[in-house]
Amino acid sequence: MSEPAADDHPAQRLDDVVHQRVRLGILAVLDQADRADFTYLRNALGLTDGNLSRHLSVLEESGYLEISKTFEGRKPRTWVRSTRRGKAALAEEMAALRELVTRYEDNLARPLGDVGDPA
């Protein structure tokens, strides 16, 4: 029986851009909502303005988010929306994370001496 290739390991499929608690949180909010504003994201994820801005910039540069500004009277409001690419990145990341956990649990369930591919 051939050993699984290293590339098949789910850890190899984790995306550096989204493999991070805050960025996954942002994409998770936008996976359920059509769009969210800056203030909502900041409060929901417990971040500072600067911290959230940095994470949003990274995700926007990767094409995972679209950021737009609207005005309510004179007050500007920043809205964030996940792109199709962003939604796909979240789905792929979740699949890879689930597979990592499943592999680990499968290995734990195997009898001793039968452990071939530690997660």
């Binding site: 390991h9 995306d15 998770a28 359920q32 059509d34 969210a36 800056f38 979740m94 689930r98």
Partner: protein, 186 residues
């Protein structure tokens, strides 16, 4: 863009829990179906009076006027809520479902006759609420849809006078009660 560093299974499990918790919190905040249930419940109760007082085509005219008014009221409620929360969800699936209910509720009576004709629209509404239940991911609306589908069957089996009015009264009451209970249960 692949990660060269292996992530530990514990980290992966923590991240999965975090994402699920954020998703669930967002879904819960976006959920405000109590308002359309109360609005359309009240309209349905009013339609029962119309159907009882003026059996026949009057109820169709009533819904042709009250339905869009209810829809606009609900739309404005969601719009102002979304601006207040800073969180919005796509309106299109809800609008399409509402249009489907409207079309079904008007079309089904044309295809039937007798007592069934008076109550058959409720099945279209019940089917629409199943779609809403899926969109909202909530068991409340599944129960409501099943109850709505059962009401006309019970009314027809009981052979009561004014089956359309009785069905509308029971359905309206069920809508308002579910709206109030789901709001309290939040």
């Amino acid at each position: 863009m692949t990660n060269a560093h292996a992530s530990s299974p514990q980290d992966a499990a923590n991240l999965l829990r975090h994402v699920e918790s954020v998703r669930s919190q967002t879904r819960s905040l976006l959920r405000a179906f109590w308002f359309p249930l109360v609005v359309f419940g009240a309209i349905t109760l009013a339609s029962a009076l119309v159907q009882w007082a003026w059996p026949g085509a009057a109820v169709g005219l009533f819904w042709a006027l009250a339905g869009p008014v209810g829809g606009v009221t609900v739309g404005r409620f969601y719009q102002s809520r979304q601006l207040r929360l800073g969180l919005s969800r796509p309106a299109r699936p809800y609008i399409l479902t509402a249009i489907g209910i409207f079309v079904g509720a008007f079309a089904l009576p044309i295809l039937t006759h007798g007592d069934l004709q008076e109550v058959v629209s409720t099945f279209a509404v019940a089917a629409g609420y199943l779609a809403f239940a899926w969109l909202e991911r909530t068991g409340w609306l599944v129960l409501l849809a099943l109850l709505m589908a059962a009401i006309p069957l019970v009314v027809l089996a009981a052979g009561v006078d004014h089956p359309g009015a009785v069905t509308a009264a029971a359905t309206g009451a069920a809508l308002v009660a579910t709206g109030v209970l789901s709001r309290r249960g939040r």
